[in-house]
Symmetry: C2
Subunit: 177 residues, 2 copies
């Protein structure tokens, strides 16, 4: 039987960019923004310096040094034999992120083949069975079954089946195989 396929986002799903933003902001300004502050608002609005996020996203080394989302590696190791897993990241807006994201995946998820990595602009042409993403805009154009991965900015959204963390994701996805 054909394995079902899952498109898994990078930023805020397997890569903890939220924590990375907070750490980089503190390193730059000395101000530590709490996770609580980020709840329910876009990340670009959540920091006193509104240009900070865009500046970080275009700084060489930012994507290379993002911490792995807690539980993501263990979860993907468990899901990997059961599903065709594709890492699908909207990397095209920031071209310098392309090689850093590829290298980061090689470092932290070496069991994901280069054949299963997709860097794109919009995700509307991705034809997998499932998609896990933290951004509504990516799930809204998806034709398969969509899962919203919890990030501070999306906690008030009630439109898709929610995955709160990677521990919760594994049994939830296996039930769909």
């Amino acid at each position: 039987m054909r394995k079902k396929s899952i498109a898994i986002d990078m930023d805020n799903v397997i890569a903890d960019v939220e924590t990375h933003y907070i750490n980089w902001y503190e390193k730059e300004t000395g101000i530590r923004i709490s996770k609580e502050t980020l709840k329910g608002i876009p990340e670009t609005e959540a920091f006193p310096d509104k240009q900070a996020i865009r500046r970080f996203l275009t700084t060489p080394g930012f994507f290379q040094t993002v911490p792995v989302m807690p539980g993501a590696k263990d979860a993907l190791l468990k899901l990997h034999p059961i599903f065709d897993i594709y890492i699908v990241s909207a990397a095209m807006e920031f071209p310098q992120s392309l090689t850093e994201k590829k290298s980061w995946l090689q470092e932290h998820f070496p069991f994901i083949s280069w054949k299963n990595i997709v860097f794109c602009g919009d995700k509307s042409i991705i034809g997998t069975d499932f998609m896990i993403d933290d951004l509504l805009k990516n799930l809204d154009t998806f034709k398969g079954k969509a899962f919203l991965f919890t990030a501070s900015h999306n906690i008030n959204i009630d439109k898709y089946t929610r995955i709160r963390n990677w521990e919760e994701a594994v049994p939830l996805l296996i039930a769909e195989k």
Copy 2:
């Protein structure tokens, strides 16, 4: 009405890598291989030095300097208002090609938005209506309507609707809109 979507390959479709291989091989060895020699065999087998293609593919600057396929720019300018055009390239095997391919597209096809560029490994998850590619392996897993773009290596294949060049492509695709 929703525009139909086309996934268009880069190498041997909008980027003339065949000519680029021949030119680089001549520059390196002094030997000019004719296009005739390339007919019906894989490119990696077509040059006396069997390692040459792989060496070129991993040389910085190779992808940045590929000539545009004759007619490709004019054709895409005509098709652009009629279809959702996505450039879909298997770039993941050679990570240094990622930024060069992105930069090449910006230089030669600036009217293609970053939102419509996809770099992937295998293309089986691409869910567009049409796909234009020179490689059977990409068309074989595609669920929409597939077009085989003529390259020397594929001239004996008789499995998909063939597009021999970009002049021919425009009316053929417009008939499908």
